[in-house]
Subunit: 350 residues, 2 copies
């Protein structure tokens, strides 16, 4: 049409995982937590009044910042609330990158990063991911913004906080550690935000806290970084209901921890079962599993016919793998039964 | 600190109106609707289940698009849902503007526009607002994106849809008509989106629908424009609760219309009363009033001491004016009583 910037005209945008509208499917494709949020979240939402909806929300989401600061051992001024973790990624790319200021990350990783770079028309340094080895290359690239997804999606592995600290020290730009999946690991990078004024930790309420529906993410960083990011974000990025829900969720640590343990336990069982079926599966530190199989694409299609949705990326390094969200025991059983059936048919057993 | 893009480092960001946390104030500073949303909104929210929160929301907000399309006489594919109207403004500036592609608008208007231009580092053509006369200058500027706020904030006047159509025809770029306040006028520009493929109409659920707390805006345009804007927006810009609430609100047109009539009736009374107090007040087509007085700043400060908040902009053309949201009859009475008192003291009457 010619109305758009040429870059926008040419790009295809980020493709989110398919969101089937029917509740009647086994949905293991977008890494939601299979267990519900704390009952206190629904209680809080049901207690809201028309007055809470009528007025603009608190611009900074201070109720959440205060609750999160206490849980995470940081201060309110170390936290910025965003409309999902993606919003923070977007804000950071806009705050730090331009035609002269690059974004760097190691591939494969979250497929939104290159889309954001494209939109911002900043140079994009994409290094082949090779565990902690890629960090050396990232340090040498020394981009204005370096993103490390940790644990990484979709590879599920976790880099030690120590090596990330070494990277932060070597960078003259900002290191954004995308911890969307950190709830399912034993360690996290928050302590680096106290040691380094160039580290931002991204968190999401969508995974461990079972609140993908409300779009709530946040960043943790030095007050100087937070202050600058506040200028780039929307005036009211998070709404009144989302603030109330997220605050209730992060305040119920007992429920959160119990849910996380259930996911971890099923992750272990699913990993072992997939290996028995012939998949090559690494140890996941997330709430999903990356399962390698030479017939990945055909299996993916076969699962859809069984009303089971997992994620398949037709991309270099990923075309022979399925990304499978850890579901409830029942969902995982349905998946395993369907996989066994599909593989038996392929091998001519039935 | 040097981590940010120089532009971000230097800019001061948009300053939203003060949001007092105490419910114990007369809050007439951010143009919220003084009456509550349809009871069906709260009913809908209270009926939500943990499952609605656990899963990602529908990426496009189709339930709302369908309901809004029916109410507004357009098609689903003509609508994009955004995290408040500001989100749509941001998306449009990112989609259409860059160093070579300007943003144009007439001042004074919504103070977010120049902030977005600054962030995008695009040329910003700012014309002095002079009713329909400014449209000629905007047509001559022929920017990649032209924004006309109609009715205009904070001047409260309304340009005819006919002259906006003439502007759309003359522009080779996109015309965004910001109708955040259109609920309080007798006409609107939706028909232009059928006649011109370069027109986007912005709408908000924050004003007429009393839902400022949930952050829900939307755009109406030709399918070609909507498709391009979808690439620039967040993958899940509106959350599950907001979609449900906004859908319930727009579906209850009877409640909406009754609320709007109440605002209009108080707008008339408040306008007349302010004139009697010596303010110079134009006919407002919005849910707020721009009241001119040589002692505007002192009156603003005096009102705060009475726990009454209105908006004051220390800007050219606005430094002698107060922007006053139309409140409930009781709130307006409190405001008028306080104003009378402040003015009496100033005039040495008490």
């Amino acid at each position: 049409m010619g109305y758009f910037r040429p870059t926008i005209e040419q790009m295809s945008g980020y493709t989110p995982g398919f969101q089937p509208k029917s509740p009647d499917v086994v949905k293991l494709n977008t890494n939601e937590n299979p267990w519900p949020a704390s009952p206190k979240v629904l209680e809080t939402i049901k207690g809201l009044m028309a007055e809470n909806l009528r007025r603009y929300p608190d611009p900074a989401g201070d109720a959440f910042r205060t609750a999160a600061a206490e849980v995470l051992g940081v201060k309110t001024e170390n936290i910025i609330c965003t409309n999902g973790g993606d919003d923070l990624l977007n804000i950071c790319v806009r705050a730090f990158c331009d035609a002269e200021r690059a974004l760097a990350f190691a591939q494969p990783t979250y497929s939104l990063y290159p889309v954001l770079a494209k939109m911002q028309e900043c140079p994009c340094v994409e290094i082949a991911r090779n565990g902690a080895g890629s960090l050396d290359e990232l340090a040498e690239a020394d981009a204005a913004l370096t993103i490390v997804c940790n644990p990484n999606a979709p590879t599920t592995d976790f880099l030690s906080i120590q090596v990330l600290g070494q990277l932060a020290r070597r960078l003259s730009g900002v290191l954004l550690i995308d911890e969307a999946y950190v709830d399912f690991t034993p360690d996290n990078a928050i302590r680096l935000t106290r040691q380094f004024d160039n580290v931002i930790v991204l968190r999401s309420m969508s995974k461990g806290y079972s609140l993908a529906g409300i779009r709530f993410g946040f960043g943790i960083a030095s007050p100087g970084l937070i202050e600058g990011l506040m200028k780039v974000r929307d005036s009211y990025p998070v709404d009144a209901v989302a603030i109330a829900a997220a605050t209730a969720a992060i305040s119920d640590q007992a429920h959160f921890k119990a849910n996380v343990e259930k996911v971890k336990s099923e992750r272990m069982r699913l990993t072992a079962s997939l290996r028995l079926l012939g998949f090559n599966v690494g140890e996941s530190q997330t709430n999903f599993i990356l399962a390698q199989h030479s017939n990945a694409e055909a299996i993916y299609t076969g699962l859809i016919k069984n009303n089971i949705y997992v994620r398949y990326f037709k991309l270099p390094g990923l075309h022979d793998k399925l990304r499978i969200t850890v579901g409830t025991p029942q969902q995982n059983d349905q998946l395993l039964a369907a996989l066994k059936n599909i593989l038996d048919i392929r091998q001519g057993k039935i």
